[in-house]
């Protein structure tokens, strides 16, 4: 079970989502992707997309306007 970090700081839509899509397609089932973002749309559209795909996810606010999104590839 590997862990990957994706730096999406200071990047606007839809780059974080596209980067996550690309990274997830390269990962094995059970691997975890951690995304760092400061774009408030990302915690909406990335999370919504992940939910639709059926992966496990969670996110935490690291500070004002800064988040980490955790995605576990489940299928």
């Amino acid at each position: 079970m590997a862990e990957y970090y994706l730096d999406c700081m200071h990047e606007a839509c839809p780059i974080p989502l596209l980067k996550a899509l690309k990274q997830l397609s390269k990962m094995e089932i059970g691997d975890v992707l951690i995304m760092g973002t400061d774009h408030n749309c990302s915690i909406i559209n990335v999370v919504e997309w992940v939910k639709k795909q059926g992966h496990a996810y969670d996110y935490v606010a690291l500070g004002e306007g800064e988040w980490e999104i955790y995605i576990e590839k489940t299928r």
Binding site: P14, D38, G65, E66
Partner: protein
Amino acid sequence: MIMLPWEKGNGRFTLRKPDSRKGGKPMGKEARDCREKLKSFLQRPWPYWLGGVLLAILNIILLAFAGTSWRITSGFLYWGAFFLEKLGLHPQEWYYFSAYNHGLNPGETLLNNDVSVITLGIIIGALISILLSGQFKLKPLKSKKQALVGLLGGIAMGYSSRISFGCNIGAFFSAIPSFSLHGWVFFFFLFVGAWIGSRLLIKYML
């Protein structure tokens, strides 16, 4: 160590616990629910239908009181022309302004016109909204590539918004309810542009 009056013996500023109220009673379930609702109202995005209805109502009010529908980039045109004038150029003599109506009434200035006031209102409103949600953050440029692409994108958007009578607000959002055909042409080519744009994005920006 200097002690301030509100500091306790351990020298650290002590905050009141969030769940304690005057008289030491814990915060009730109702109050907590209310706080959660307010937080969600300020932080979560509103549904698209609500945004659409609010924008339509505001545009009708604007048309009724100001006599013009909502435009944004015309304001940038005035601001740009203002700075070029200050630099000693004469944009008012350009062919563009003789071929198209610039929409300014006599006596209107850089800030004293409908478009500029609304655009400044949008910027201030957006700032208030992001401050209330507690998500305000200044973002530096990530790389030279991001800066260059941003600059090129800005120039392309500015140029094309002028030859198409506006951005997605002036040439689409306000054009279609005004029964203008150019709004529908814009609508169709918006999809074409978005498709090409997303191809370029995936190829060069990832």
